[in-house]
């Protein structure tokens, strides 16, 4: 069906669009904090 929503686990599209806010340079983290990029699965 043409209008169907499809969520493919195997077929994904890299998301590249970002708001201008997302393009701002981040402030350095405090010495006492670390940050790790992670993936959260949501369907």
């Amino acid at each position: 069906m043409k209008t169907a929503f499809i969520l493919f686990a195997a077929l994904t599209i890299a998301a590249v669009a970002q708001t201008p806010k997302g393009k701002r340079a981040r402030q350095p983290l405090p010495d006492t904090v670390e940050m790790r990029p992670v993936t959260v699965w949501s369907d």
Partner: protein, 292 residues
């Protein structure tokens, strides 16, 4: 979803900290105000998760088929041209995403799953209010300049259902891409798309009647986009049910002032709220633990 996990350095295997999940408002991303707030909370002994809703920011997209689907192969796979659905305002998706974030953080080794809080701003403030009323894993919530939804006029509800019929019958775009642009005061969000059909059932106002977690609402005195009266109604219902709740009004600011001149004040009162209801007597940073 793409997410960033912020942690105090030096955690030991046995450390169990409270967690805060940051939920953005319209068009917000984990690289925006969340990236300013997260380190401040992490410094004070929280594990903080900032994420981009599906189809927003750096997160992957839902996909819409652009051609007739072929029969799937033996593995139920197919190759087909699709369109990425980006920047959709859809409360069902976004509340599911928040609940997925709760599920993720509950499994983080250094997180105490019984001390998970939600922070939400603007549209995200309404979303966290809704989730707090529907997910018992939420133990504390702070919503700043929240859009509560609900209380729609009968004409708006009729419009939504009429549009739902047209979408279901393929008479209009099933997913508004060309037609779903935001209007009025929200028209500046040129990349965002709204499907009124998807938001028919969204009422943080109603969901708030089920909240049992301490709830803080930070408001702009000169709010121009959402209703402070709705928030006051929510808080009244919470207090009537003996649920700890507080409203903090930042004087002299408008909606977006919470990210600007009101940022420090908002963050401070939110920090105090989380400290009171998630941390207990004092923040439990590794440094504080070492002093004991």
């Amino acid at each position: 979803m793409a997410a960033d996990l912020y942690l105090p350095k030096g955690l030991k295997t046995e450390d169990k900290l409270p967690a805060i999940i940051l939920c953005a408002g319209t068009g917000g991303t984990k690289g925006g105000s969340q990236a300013r707030v997260a380190p401040l909370f992490a410094e004070k002994g929280y594990i903080v998760l900032a994420f981009d809703y599906r189809g927003w920011g750096q997160s992957e997209s839902q996909l819409k088929a652009m051609e007739q689907q072929p029969a799937p192969d033996a593995n139920n796979e197919m190759t087909i041209k699709v369109k990425a659905l980006r920047w959709q305002m859809n409360y069902t998706d976004q509340t599911e995403d928040i609940r997925a974030a709760i599920s993720y953080i509950a499994g983080e080794p250094n997180v105490d799953p019984n001390r998970i809080g939600l922070w939400g701003s603007s549209y995200g403030g309404g979303l966290v209010t809704w989730v707090a009323g529907n997910d018992p894993r939420v133990k504390c919530v702070a919503a700043q300049v929240p859009g509560m939804g609900g209380a729609r006029a009968p004409a708006a509800i009729k419009y939504g259902y009429d549009l739902a019929t047209k979408q279901a019958r393929g008479e209009v775009e099933p997913v508004p891409i060309e037609t779903g642009k935001m209007t009025g005061k929200m028209a500046t969000y040129a990349n965002m798309r709204v499907n009124p059909v998807k938001n028919i059932g969204f009422s943080a106002l109603d969901a708030a009647m089920k909240i049992n977690a301490p709830a803080l609402f930070v408001l702009a005195e000169n709010e121009e986009l959402s209703s402070n009266a709705n928030v006051e109604a929510v808080q009244k219902s919470l207090l009537e049910r003996k649920v700890p709740s507080s409203i903090h009004v930042i004087k002299g600011i408008t909606h977006y002032g919470v990210y600007k001149e009101g940022f420090d004040e908002a963050t401070q009162v939110e920090m105090e709220w989380f400290n009171k209801h998630l941390q207990g007597a004092a923040p439990q940073t590794p440094a504080a633990a070492a002093e004991k």
